[in-house]
Subunit: 395 residues, 2 copies
């Protein structure tokens, strides 16, 4: 056990590349050399820091160079979709070490689905050659609204049986580490941001699949809003479609006309074989003119909604993901057409509108990033050092 109010901050400085030696740490924090030394010793004992060589001398002894050890532990990450889920184990830098993806219906309820997740967690740990004792945190995305503070789904429309279910507790008990649960679009936005857009402070990630949702990154962090309801773009009204009744009870919602689910219904009514958003994309990619026309028009309608979001929020980038984004450039072309025309020049001057680079792996990258940033935050590190014996003492 080591009590310190500053070890976590010192780790942060090394991890962020702002300090490399004990001397750097002392001069950047105003802490005395012995306080720095004790904290570094505790961090080394905990496995988070290691000594990696010697730096250049500025007069006396050559200083020992410190580095954050990404391999000091692992993170378990899950991205649960409506019918398909992905599970991964990553290192503490968020790099996946092993992953698996399988079809499983979220509607089978938390008992069955979380049991399946636990088995897959064991699988990926084995694949990566790591053990449950290496796990430092668990991160998970689910396809519905989540009260982030408790990690419990809140009246999720497509997740019967999950309302209020204490998802994190199950994993916190099993692994004895923090578990965080968030909405799937939020973690996709975070993943895309951390891996591809970390230089931009403000980003929107729009998922167009069966429904339409949006994850918001503001100042580099997920913006969840006052009650975790932020990003609910699917129920913004688009003009000219007041006859389209939405499952939310209103009419003219963009999700009721431009989502993969809505297009599948429209194409199905024409006698085409389209039950899912993937069917719509297949038809469009195959050149079916009705499907092509609808996906492009869906892009324009989404563009109406995003133009307002651009005026309001002024993001540096809009990243479009989800099944329907795979329809080549059809969807994006419609989005770009309307956003660049409707939003003011200052807001669109440097605005990028692009397809998701991570595709269906954005979620696990984001789930891992979310929990890494939590368990390696200065406060969490200080608490961990104070609460636990160092790793050596366990062995």
């Amino acid at each position: 056990m080591y009590r310190s109010a500053s070890a976590g901050h010192l780790l942060d400085l090394v991890r962020g590349g702002r300090a490399r030696t004990r001397t750097d740490l002392a001069s950047q924090t105003g802490l005395g050399r012995s306080a720095v030394s004790q904290a570094v010793t505790a961090l080394i004992a905990n496995g988070l820091l290691r000594e990696v060589g010697q730096g250049t001398s500025t007069g006396g002894r050559r200083p020992v160079v410190l580095a954050f050890d990404q391999q000091a532990g692992v993170i378990l990450a899950a991205d649960l979709g409506a019918t398909h889920s992905r599970i991964a184990v990553t290192d503490l830098g968020g790099e996946p070490l092993a992953e698996v993806a399988e079809d499983i219906d979220i509607a089978r309820g938390p008992g069955i689905v979380l049991g399946w997740v636990e088995e897959r967690f064991e699988d990926v740990l084995t694949l990566a050659g790591r053990t449950p004792g290496d796990v430092r945190g668990v991160g998970m995305g689910v396809p519905g609204p989540v009260e982030f503070a408790t990690g419990r789904p809140v009246s999720p429309p497509i997740m019967p049986g999950w309302d209020g279910f204490p998802v994190p507790e199950r994993f916190e008990e099993r692994y004895g580490v923090p578990a965080l649960v968030d909405n799937d679009v939020n973690i996709m936005a975070l993943g895309e941001h951390r891996v591809k857009w970390s230089d931009s402070e403000h980003l929107l990630f729009v998922k167009v699949g069966t429904g339409i949702g949006c994850g918001i990154i503001a100042e580099g962090r997920i913006h969840r809003g006052a009650l975790g309801a932020a990003g609910d773009l699917g129920h913004v009204r688009v003009s000219g479609h007041d006859d389209a009744v939405c499952h939310c009870g209103n009419s003219g919602c963009v999700e009721a006309v431009a989502s993969g689910g809505a297009m599948a219904r429209q194409l199905g009514a024409l006698g085409l074989k389209a039950r899912t958003s993937r069917d719509v994309v297949s038809l469009a990619k195959g050149g079916n003119p009705e499907a092509v026309r609808r996906v492009r028009e869906a892009g324009r309608l989404l563009g109406q909604v995003l133009a307002s979001a651009v005026n309001f929020f002024n993001p540096a980038a809009i990243v479009v993901g989800g099944d329907v984004a795979d329809a080549d450039q059809l969807l994006l072309a419609g989005v770009r057409e309307v956003v660049y025309q409707r939003s003011p020049p200052l807001a669109t001057q440097h605005l990028k509108i692009v397809q998701s680079a991570l595709g269906d792996r954005a979620g696990i990258r984001g789930a891992a990033a979310m929990v890494i940033e939590n368990v390696l935050s200065p406060d969490a590190v200080n608490q961990a050092l104070a609460a636990e014996p160092p790793r050596e003492a366990i062995a």
Copy 2:
């Protein structure tokens, strides 16, 4: 001169009520007693901290209680409008000590207007019994887009002669302190948040005057967006008004139909005496049925736009200010009607939609808060202590 990497952080702890004594500061930061002592001595010499009595003993000597001294300096604040401006001097807690308001046309250009501001700054200092040497920072709002990093207006439509003008430099040179300039709606949002809504993380401030603009508070800070263009709600399209041509070049913008300026034109075309947004409000308050109908409908159109913003951003509150908000509850009634109907239950469950409590004083409160938070930030305090001789040494 006193160099420290932690004095600013110590001040923050005292200012935030998290530490009251040197012992508190040492235990909360991990710094040694002598490091804390030196930093506190420097902060006392600079006037920011003072000793205010003795606390309860926990065994040894009764510890000396420290307090932040709001009177250690003053802030000059200016809220420049299109035709009317307000100038104030506040203490370091942001409380106004003296203020003046006068009609002055922003279109007279920076030379004349900033000269006028300087004279009014001297007036309010005199009124408050303070001197230019007491000034710790200058904050200003202007009615147009501003590149916040440099404080320069960027192609402001109603501020001829101001494009790219180095506004902060003028005041930084005169007073030798930081000067910050931002868009007027941003500082109004900040003022309303800091004075009335500091318990809420996320807030929208909508100003409906001659035009329509919005200031966004996200996690307690002004959200400016990638290029400072955030909050540009005036040019979001509303449905059913494609014939209304906007000065921005598009049509159907909410500002082209629902702003005070647009309503004045509509009423003027009917032969009514309405040249400004204030005239519209006078007519509506006087019961003119055309004016009443238009203001209420303007509220509904604004509600359309805000419903999208609520879905997207999930604020805890929408505060409506500007001339047209003074039309009793007419505007607000229209806004509430549409937002509560159009936005999802989770986002509106606890959403407050209210009139600005600070009215035309929101701007100066926000301008002061903006600069106080800048000059009392830990880094700024550390730099100030390192750069300047303590106040006693000047006297």
